[in-house]
């Protein structure tokens, strides 16, 4: 078996080296080429950070994975759906939180420009929650409109044509946001309080992200396992023509795919901004490759794969700092994407192209 899969052997050896290196570092042993020092507390906080980011990436990845399997194309505009959701949601949150306040006009609220309005989840829970809902609903509306205008007339074209069209959609969306909101990076949230949970500290915003994404993922799981919709989606991902001749209303399934995927994506963007506190017009685009990495890692079409892949990519992106200089950690995440595509193109969780 080892001789048949030399690539896997190399990966296993590198993994073993990194593991031994980590253990030596934690023990504080330094020998040539391996070891060093690294505190357990730092490792724990990196793991938590990775988990939090990873959940948001996984949430966004579910949408990408679903459209990839059901519509058979890699949606390069997906990152800009993330951005759109964040901007729409935060505009709504600002409007709710700031309306009626003295010296703040509605224009600057909608454009998320009002300074001094540093929202935190403890002080303005209602505004944040409402923003979350608007982020989801707004992105659903956007996905449906874009599907109707751009992708539906192209249903019979091949994946590459759709991919290229999605690059056009990505450019359009991103620069509409830049045109409306400007190209600067803005601070959006206030400084959240911290919560001590055993050895790790979490901010309330990280906790919100954790709870919201875990809840939404559970919801999607129930929805796809218990309803006919889930079964129809799995059938469509498997074989579109067969699905159609068995009487599955394919267009309605496609619409539902965009509704679920778009909603989760918008919410993911909103939550990511809640966690990091700042946003700019291209932050989703920058995340796109990470989301792709998560989806491919987990296996395209599998929503559990997207969740798991997201968490793995989030943790790799954070933990890579143990072994690599800070400028190269993101490159490491992309490198893992390439290695997985080459060695295990069906994804880590074993080629399930169904939900």
């Amino acid at each position: 078996v080892v001789v048949e899969r030399p690539g896997t052997l190399v990966v296993a050896l590198v993994g073993l080296y990194l593991l031994v290196d980590l253990l030596l570092k934690l023990a504080g042993i330094k020998v040539p080429y391996i070891g060093g020092s690294f505190s357990i507390g730092r490792l724990a906080s990196l793991l938590v950070d990775g988990l939090v980011i990873g959940l948001a990436i996984g949430l966004a990845g579910i949408g990408l994975s679903m459209t990839y399997s059901i519509l058979s194309f890699a949606n390069f505009a997906h990152g800009d759906y993330v951005t759109s959701g964040a901007f729409v949601g935060w505009a709504a949150a600002y409007l709710v939180a700031g309306l009626g306040m003295e010296g703040v006009n509605a224009t600057s609220l909608v454009l998320i420009n009002a300074s001094g309005l540093d929202l935190t989840v403890l002080e303005a829970p209602l505004a944040i929650l409402l923003g979350l809902v608007v982020a989801g609903v707004g992105t659903i509306a956007l996905s449906l409109v874009l599907d109707r205008v751009v992708y539906r007339p192209m249903r019979d074209q091949d994946g590459i044509a759709l991919l290229i069209a999605s690059i056009g959609v990505a450019l359009t969306l991103r620069y509409i946001i830049a045109f409306v909101f400007g190209t600067g990076t803005r601070g959006v949230t206030g400084v959240p309080g911290r919560l001590q949970l055993g050895p790790v500290t979490l901010t309330y915003h990280e906790l919100t992200l954790l709870v919201a994404s875990a809840g939404l993922m559970l919801g999607v799981h129930v929805l796809l396992q218990r309803t006919k919709l889930g079964k129809a989606m799995r059938a469509m991902a498997d074989n579109k023509s067969l699905a159609r001749v068995t009487g599955i209303p394919t267009e309605r399934i496609v619409r539902n795919t965009w509704i679920i995927g778009g909603g989760l994506t918008g919410v993911a963007g909103y939550l990511l901004v809640l966690e990091r506190g700042t946003m700019g017009f291209s932050f989703g685009w920058v995340l796109l490759l990470l989301i792709f990495a998560a989806v491919i890692l987990g296996g395209i079409g599998s929503i559990y794969g997207a969740m798991g892949g997201g968490v793995i990519i989030g943790i790799v992106d954070n933990l890579a700092i143990i072994w690599l200089p800070s400028g190269l950690t993101r490159a490491a995440a992309f490198f893992i994407l390439i290695v997985v595509l080459l060695l295990k193109p069906d994804g880590l969780f074993g080629g399930v192209s169904t939900a």
Partner: protein
């Protein structure tokens, strides 16, 4: 075979009938060189009008010359990149969206090879080799990285290949950007990428023609004197622009060479296999072609050309580059150019590159640079307050005063042009996926399959002369 190949003027003469105008249109449609030149002249004319409208008469000549030189630079540079990509996507059907990464490899390798080992406090040390070594080395490095990437990646499906190549280009950019390789010493030789600060590029050899050692501070050579005086005769008084002009001519010459190379490649037996892979790889393989070998070769050659194109562009255009220039978005620019022109046609590639870089990238930039004059023109001299937000801009539109909205749009034309490019890309994919000239995509056959059908009635001899495979091919 397409008109890309039979550009013979004799046939156009024989077909031309009637008025000189008919002859002109016929020539335009059949002779690609004429088509490109006429199209370029039309774009130049448009820019001339714009410059005439926004610049005051006393600086018109200088401004026009500088603008046209800049325009030529852009169009030729994008034409080089688009032609290189056409070899991958147009001829072979390889969906490579890592163009930026291979450009970066080419330019950085060239810079590291040629940079002086002792660059002073701000520079990045290199190997201090002559420029021609750097150019060849950079091209080979890009080809080599392309080959390494191709080894495993070409087993993947098209959309996976896309993701792998774009991830690779980001890995390359992030690596160049990291402080780790900013400056390092291997076996006693110190060199580096300069990290996020960027890396200095060698002086262009064209400058050395005009200034001793390429340094404007050191006076002017005899050739420089004469040339500057010559251009001054036309009212062009800015020597740096004259230097750029000469380099732009070199760039255009490179486009001609690239074009000739690609056309030869496309018409060779090697090129026919590439087209066969694009049409149906399984068929090509079952005819005994080792398609993976062909794909690897063409991937390496195309990547080398991308590196070379970026090198030629950067030497003449920039004093230094940093990794920001090689973000994935430049890959998409080249792709948009190719899709506008029509993947699979070299002439289309050049036309697409001219359309994209001239009309979609540079024209808005020019308008933005002279936005106050443009606004003056639109408002007829009356003062317009530019709204600070989009709400203000749309508010004024509601009260039937379009000028503040126009002012806001002009101030944000950088964003607007990308909205336009995105919409254009979607519309192209929906209504005209072939682009301007994609319908002339060359067949994988060495003879024109359509022509035989056309000519069949008149000369039966020709059809039989083509051999017994005629029936099989007509089935397609």
């Amino acid at each position: 075979m397409s008109a890309d190949v039979d550009t013979g003027s004799e046939s156009s003469q024989s077909r031309a009938s009637g008025s000189p105008l008919d002859t002109f249109w016929d020539l335009l449609g059949r002779n690609d060189a004429v088509m490109i030149v006429v199209y370029a002249l039309a774009i130049y004319a448009l820019f001339t009008v714009v410059v005439w409208a926004v610049f005051p008469p006393e600086s018109f000549t200088n401004a026009l010359f500088a603008t046209l030189v800049q325009l030529t630079f852009f169009m030729a540079a994008y034409a080089l990149l688009t032609l290189a990509l056409n070899l991958h996507w147009g001829y072979t059907g390889l969906f490579n969206i890592g163009v930026a990464g291979f450009m970066a490899i080419g330019v950085y390798s060239m810079a590291i090879l040629t940079n002086s080992p002792d660059p002073g406090p701000t520079g990045v040390p290199g190997f201090g080799l002559p420029l021609w070594v750097g150019i060849i080395g950079g091209t080979l490095a890009a080809a080599l990285i392309g080959l390494v990437a191709a080894l495993p990646a070409l087993r993947l499906d098209a959309d996976y290949l896309a993701i792998v190549t774009v991830a690779l280009s980001e890995i390359i950019r992030l690596t160049l950007n990291s402080t780790t390789f900013q400056e390092l010493t291997v076996a006693g030789v110190t060199f580096g990428t300069g990290g996020a600060r960027g890396i200095g590029l060698p002086n262009s050899p064209v400058r050395a023609l005009f200034y001793p050692g390429g340094d404007p501070g050191a006076g002017t050579t005899a050739f420089g004197e004469a040339t500057f005086a010559f251009f001054e005769g036309f009212g062009i008084t800015r020597p740096p622009v004259v230097v750029d002009f000469v380099y732009a001519v070199l760039l255009v010459a490179s486009v001609v060479l690239f074009y000739a190379f690609l056309r030869r490649t496309g018409n060779s037996p090697f090129g026919r296999v590439l087209k066969a892979i694009r049409e149906d790889e399984l068929v090509a393989r079952s005819l005994g072609k080792d398609t993976n070998r062909f794909k690897m070769k063409v991937f390496a050659v195309g990547c080398g050309l991308m590196g070379l194109a970026a090198i030629i562009w950067s030497i003449g255009f920039f004093g230094f580059v940093n990794p920001v220039f090689f973000r994935p978005v430049i890959t998409f620019y080249v792709f948009v150019a190719l899709i506008i022109g029509g993947a699979g046609s070299n002439t289309g590639s050049v036309l697409g590159a001219m359309t994209f870089s001239g009309l979609l990238l540079y024209l808005p930039q020019l308008l933005e640079q002279s936005s106050s004059q443009v606004l003056n023109l639109l408002s007829g001299g009356q003062q317009v307050q530019t709204p600070s937000t989009v709400v203000g801009a749309f508010g004024s539109l509601g009260s039937l005063d379009p000028l503040p909205f126009l002012a806001y749009s002009l101030a944000n034309i950088g964003s607007l042009r990308f909205i336009l490019i995105g919409v254009l890309l979607v519309l192209l994919m929906q209504y005209r996926p072939d682009g301007l000239l994609g319908h002339r995509k060359e067949d994988a056959a060495s003879v024109d399959l359509l022509e035989r059908v056309r000519a069949g009635g008149e000369s039966g001899g020709r059809a039989t002369a083509d051999g017994g495979d005629a029936g099989g091919e007509r089935d397609e």
